[in-house]
Amino acid sequence: MIPDTVEGAILLSVIDFFLSFIIIGGIGVVLSLFPYLNRLGEVSDHDLKAGH
């Protein structure tokens, strides 16, 4: 897919660098929604540690 040349290395780098920003940014957007999970209820550490 990517040619084995310096130009290919530059192309790979540019695509990879900017695409990783987009994906990480997307993860950041997903994480920004996490506080809404707390509306589902609270999970008690005590109950979890009580185990099975």
Partner: protein, 376 residues
């Protein structure tokens, strides 16, 4: 009779390692000794450098079968070559990691991408000096400062370069307290370094339980090439966060991690035999690795400064260099540099956010690289 005796003694000497010892072995023994010195005297990552240094020394005493097929170190190396050890390391890392700082401030995760410019500077540099594009990709991933990821990507792209790349990656990770601060100070003013950050919100138990499940699905779906690593990282974290399987989490992050660390350091050190290591290619890879770390540190700081142009609540630019994945070393370095500028400044918790995001940043960069180079 005298001639016979001399012939006998010569034959005996030829059986020993001393007869095969050459200056390259002496150089590598010195390198191994330096690693142990740095671990003991300077306290640079002793858990890694002591094992790697010792195995390096022993592997450069010729004559034994330690590093030969069937030898003890050979089997340790198979754990790396067969990609068993890196996922198990990530299991332990996940079980020891609190991803709360990353969840609490999602804005900072972008630094986990910004601090990876070094990967691509090294990649382009490696290609320019004659490595193949696959080899260049493997060399570039040193800049992600993630040992298991470096091993994983290298085994997929250029397994013959594993000795040099793994040694460079782990050595530079251990030397980050030396490499990063000059770059950080060059790119920031004292006023910027003194900047304190407001307290972060508390992350609930539910969020911490959901996090590894959601991240595993997202990253594995888009980058199946790195699924073994991300899966084990998130499994370890899930074991930790559910609280009710504490025994499993403690084993993953404790005893198992110790066993794997010992095995890994022996494996890496055993690849440092002079015959294959004392070459021009090794020097080139080591230099490119250093360039990757320097540029990664710089790009992380600059990414934070660029973010500050658009953010109302500014962030300390030193958080940017923590986006290099080496957890928790890079975060610790950011904290120390900030604390030296302002003794009231405790950045460690904030710096862990981008530091942890950097793990995903390296995985994503590696995954994209594998996909673009057509490797499964």
């Amino acid at each position: 009779m005298w001639d016979q005796l001399l012939t006998f003694l010569q034959a005996l000497l030829d059986q020993t390692g001393a007869a095969k010892f050459w200056w390259g072995n002496a150089v590598m023994i010195l390198v191994g000794g330096t690693m142990i010195y740095l671990a003991l005297a300077k306290k640079y990552e002793p858990f890694l450098l002591i094992g790697i240094g010792f195995a390096c020394i022993v592997s450069n005493v010729p004559g034994s079968d330690l590093i030969l097929p069937g030898g003890l170190f050979h089997y340790a190396y198979q754990g790396v070559a067969l990609l068993i050890i890196p996922p198990l390391i990530f299991l332990g890392v996940g079980a020891m990691t609190d991803f709360g700082p990353m969840i609490a401030n999602p804005k900072l995760v972008i630094l986990g991408a910004g601090a990876h410019l070094g990967i691509f500077v090294a990649l382009i540099g490696a290609k320019a000096i004659g490595f193949s594009i696959a080899e260049s990709g493997a060399i570039g991933i040193i800049g992600g400062a993630d040992g298991p990821m470096a091993i994983f990507v290298t085994m997929k792209l250029a397994p013959h370069l594993l000795p040099q790349i793994s040694v460079a990656a782990y050595s530079y990770m251990a030397l980050m307290p030396l490499i990063q601060p000059p770059v950080m100070k060059l790119l920031t003013s004292k006023k910027e370094r003194e900047m304190t950050m407001p307290p972060m919100r508390k992350v609930s138990r539910l969020e911490k339980i959901i996090f590894p499940i959601v991240l595993a699905v997202i990253v594995n779906m888009f980058f199946p090439g790195v699924a073994p690593l991300i899966t084990m990282l998130m499994l370890g974290n899930l074991l930790k966060e559910v609280l009710m399987v504490d025994r499993l989490a403690r084993t993953a992050g404790g005893g198992l991690m110790n066993v794997i660390t010992i095995t890994l350091t022996l494996a890496i050190g055993s690849t440092m035999a002079a015959d294959s290591f004392v070459t021009l290619k090794t020097l080139e890879i080591v230099l490119l690795g250093l360039i990757a770390f320097v540029f990664g540190t710089g790009s992380g700081v600059l990414t934070a400064k660029i973010m500050n142009l658009f953010m109302k609540n500014k962030i300390n630019p030193l958080l940017g260099s923590a986006g290099i994945a080496s957890v928790p070393i890079a975060a610790r370095v950011s904290h120390v540099v900030a604390n030296r500028a302002n003794p009231e400044n405790f950045l460690i918790y904030h710096a862990m956010g981008p530091n942890l995001a950097g793990v995903f940043g390296t995985a994503i960069s590696g995954g994209i690289m594998l996909a673009l180079l057509g490797v499964q």
